[in-house]
Amino acid sequence: MKYSYFPGCSLKGLGRAYEESLLRVMRHLGAELEELEDWNCCGATAYMSVDETQAGVLAARNLALAERAGSHDLLTPCSACYLVLNKTQHNLADFPDVRERIHRALQSAQLAYTGRTRVRHPLDILVHDVGLDVIKEKVVRPLTGLKVAPYYGCQVVRPYSTFDDAWNPTTMDRLLATLGAEVVHFPLKTKCCGGSLTGTVPEAGLRMCYILLKEAVRRGADVIAVICPLCQFNLDAYHDQIDRRWGPTRIATVYFTQLMGLAFGFSPRELGLHRNFIPMKEVTAKAANA
């Protein structure tokens, strides 16, 4: 199994623990990832707020580079990147005027894109290409007794997901159960975390995070598992401000790939768990005792 890998800016910055754990886990499962040469920012929600065509060009350059590298599947772990790259695929297919403008821009750099690249999330690849049975075989330290709230956030499941439901996705639930964890019923699993509003309009953004954290605690979860670097940052880094406003809601938020790595026997440090604001002591202790 070989994939082109599009990390996105966050996995080189605030979300580097996602990259650290993802690369280890994928290698351990025999999947080969090759980082896309000279990839650029996908544009995220911010660039699309300024100029739609240019945002499409940013995404299309990456799609074209992947196609030129000869790889059909582009593994895209960040939710914002996943959405923007998929959205651009749809826009290229659906709107001739958009297609024409983007192709002209690609041509100015001697690039071309015929539409062969498939944008895929690691959850999709792990469950559908690798397979839960293979993952189960690699579990040496099952996460028995660990209660996990599976939180998907918004942009992987809406509106362009090809592999799971928009409101009640279950891919991560099944993956976590395979690791031996107890998956907590978490109806807010696709409610938005507020995105960048935590920094720009904290009154609104932080309350959205508080609602998610409080609900996970109320459901008896030990830890929240996420699939997006912005969700992880929002739910992990603002506890002091959230506690001050609404009272304590102390629960750790980790990447699903970190939980996989723990079950596969990697150390917390190898998986970037030392990068959390809310420490993982309880989580790693439970995993070690199991």
Binding site: L14, E52, L58, I102, C154, P159, T200
Partner: protein, 203 residues
Amino acid sequence: MGMEIKRTIKYEADRVRGFAQEIMSVSGCEQLKSCIQCGTCSGTCPLSIYMDFSPRQVMALVRADFKNEVLRSKTVWLCASCYACTVECPRQIRITDIMYALKQRAIREGVYPKRFPIPILAKEFSKMVRSKGRITETLLVMRLFLRANWRAVFRSWRLGLGLIRTGRFVARHERIERREELARMLDAAANGNGAISAPGRRS
């Protein structure tokens, strides 16, 4: 002393004829014409409680040509692009994309709410992508604070220290190799688009 009263609905004279048509001609926004004003968008939106106009009202205002009201509203900027409304709309209206079309228009015409940090973040973000090809989040946030609210730097010192402690603070710009190639492509996209082009010319 008489009680001060204010008309809460708009006057016919406040309309900017042709605005609805312009927005509906943006690719992906065509379906707006079939809005039935059911309010599912407002009901499903996690941020509508903070908005000056609900998403349903924005759909009605756009369709009735009330350009100034929507472009100056906080609503379009509070949309966090979670696509809940788009997925739920019974008329398949891409409400999130309409919000984007309105954001782009507000930026292009410089009429977004002043000192509101969200459009400032969008502009700083796009400038950094255009010059470096990638985003360095910590540097972006510092720029935003300097532009929008320098007091936030002091409020967030704990967060900054935490990022340094956990090795997540990146102080050196991430950048791509072929920055000229990217700039050429973005300029090519801007031509004939009436939109923002090379850095410096418009911001």
